[in-house]
């Protein structure tokens, strides 16, 4: 076991301990967070879609099960579940698009569970979750017609996207629909910053569950991230001081 492994293992262990203990302490009073305009827009969009009888489009990106981008896909799935639950009062269920096979199956499962939980009649339509393409641009090319043809009032892009996400935000703009977008990819974040009104930058992607009320674990996850961030800041500052004093 190298030093890097030991430090990594300790970080995982400390994070797990913090997550468990904070979840226990906050079990009755969930923590509150600063307002993020993108999530305010998302909540408003869900309400409006129910009122208008329009549809929400949740695009989960191309995070594959055996890639580091899978975490962003999981964050997207948690958000999809909350959106599907909240939009269940409407006439039309949300439609999910994915660029990975496993993600497509999980999205379908998520929509089906939400449908069964909130709807008593009718049969679940398995085409509400779609694999639109496997390469970045074929994925976007498959998703854009859905944004045009299926009465989409809001598109929620949450997951792993590259710069091709710019074509989807442009399609939403042309369609006159709202767009909330977040990606774990740096280039995509720059594109989304320029092309959406309320972009979510960096780790805000992983805050979607907490802001849409996905449960106490999502909420305390943000606290754990904050604590770890302060620890990293402290370590960086100590490192700078050691370097400046010539000890290292």
């Amino acid at each position: 076991m190298t030093w890097t492994d030991i430090i990594g293992f300790l970080i995982v262990l400390i994070s797990a301990g913090l997550l468990a203990s904070l979840a226990y302490f906050h079990r009755k009073s969930p923590p509150t967070f600063r307002e993020l305009s993108a999530f305010r827009l998302l909540r408003k969009a869900i309400g409006l879609s129910v009122e208008e009888g329009s549809r929400l489009h949740v695009s989960l990106g191309r995070g594959g099960v055996n890639t580091p981008q899978w975490a962003s896909a999981l964050a997207g799935l948690a958000t999809l579940l909350r959106i599907a639950n909240l939009a269940s009062a409407g006439d039309r269920p949300p439609v999910a698009t994915c660029g990975d096979g496993a993600l497509s199956i999980l999205a379908q499962d998520t929509l089906q569970v939400s449908y069964q939980k909130t709807t008593s009649a009718g049969q679940f339509d398995s085409t509400n979750s779609r694999l639109t393409g496997l390469t970045p641009f074929s994925y976007v090319a498959g998703a854009i017609p859905i944004m045009h043809d299926e009465q989409i009032s809001t598109s929620i892009l949450i997951g792993n996207f590259g710069i091709e996400a710019g074509l989807m935000t442009d399609a939403a703009e042309r369609q006159g629909s709202r767009c909330v977008a977040a990606s774990d990819n740096l280039s995509a974040q720059a594109v989304l910053y320029a092309s959406t009104q309320d972009p979510l930058i960096g780790e805000e992607l992983y805050a979607a569950g907490a802001y849409t009320g996905a449960g106490i674990m999502h909420a305390v996850s943000l606290h754990v991230q904050d604590i770890l961030r302060w620890l990293i800041v402290a370590v960086v500052l100590i490192g700078i001081l050691i370097k400046l004093t010539g000890l290292l």
């Binding site: 580091p68 999981l74 496993a102 976007v140 710019g166 674990m217 754990v224 990293i232």
Partner: protein
């Protein structure tokens, strides 16, 4: 009962893979590799299911004669044709390769070119959406980087190409990128932990 079993399988598999990563024990490493290989095989099967889903969506569109169903006819024919050619001739065959190099790649390249235009439009819209200092810095940085990188036809701006562009790329851009990546890393860590705690169960739609 089914739910408990699936949660247990997911948590144990996750813990074993994590432990196999940190502890250099032959048994753990072996289990980690086996589980990851299973994941790769399952991902490939899932891909096939996903493609079937794609076929079903377009077939439904064609049957119901929905808006744009002619494009769906084209998509279904292309899908079946590529599948048959790929299965019959193999992925290395000249015809199979040319389907990708002569159709797929040019189409994707043209979408990339379209994206360049789209991004210019988006930059103009940015001024309309958020006329603030950050947007101004964002746009000014973009213009400076473009002028410092692009080959200009009649003049060269040495200060931009040799001083300003490298400074922006190495100092503020690298620092910002590292900060964002650290945040993404922490988000990834807590997402993984929620799975290990069984709080997030995407395999059950929860």
């Amino acid at each position: 009962m089914k739910g408990i079993i699936s949660v247990l399988v997911a948590i144990i598999a996750g813990l074993l893979v994590l432990a196999g990563y940190f502890f250099d024990l032959p048994a753990l490493t072996y289990i980690r590799i086996v589980i990851l290989n299973w994941a790769v095989i399952l991902a490939a099967v899932a891909l096939f299911v996903g493609i079937f889903n794609l076929f079903k969506v377009h077939a439904t569109k064609v049957r119901a004669k929905q808006k744009g169903h002619l494009y769906s006819v084209l998509a279904v024919i292309s899908l079946l044709f590529t599948l048959v050619v790929g299965l019959a001739l193999g992925p290395e065959n000249q015809i199979t390769v040319s389907i990708f190099s002569s159709i797929q790649l040019p189409v994707e390249a043209s979408l990339m070119a379209l994206l360049a235009v789209t991004l210019i439009q988006a930059s103009i819209r940015l001024i309309r959406y958020r006329a603030n200092l950050l947007s101004a810095i964002f746009l000014a940085t973009g213009v400076l980087m473009l002028l410092g990188t692009a080959p200009l036809p009649f003049l060269e701006i040495p200060v931009l190409g040799e001083l300003i562009r490298p400074f922006i790329a190495r100092v503020p851009a690298a620092a910002g990128a590292r900060g964002i990546l650290l945040g993404v890393g922490l988000g990834t860590l807590t997402t993984g932990l929620r799975l290990l705690f069984g709080a997030d169960r995407p395999y059950e739609g929860k």
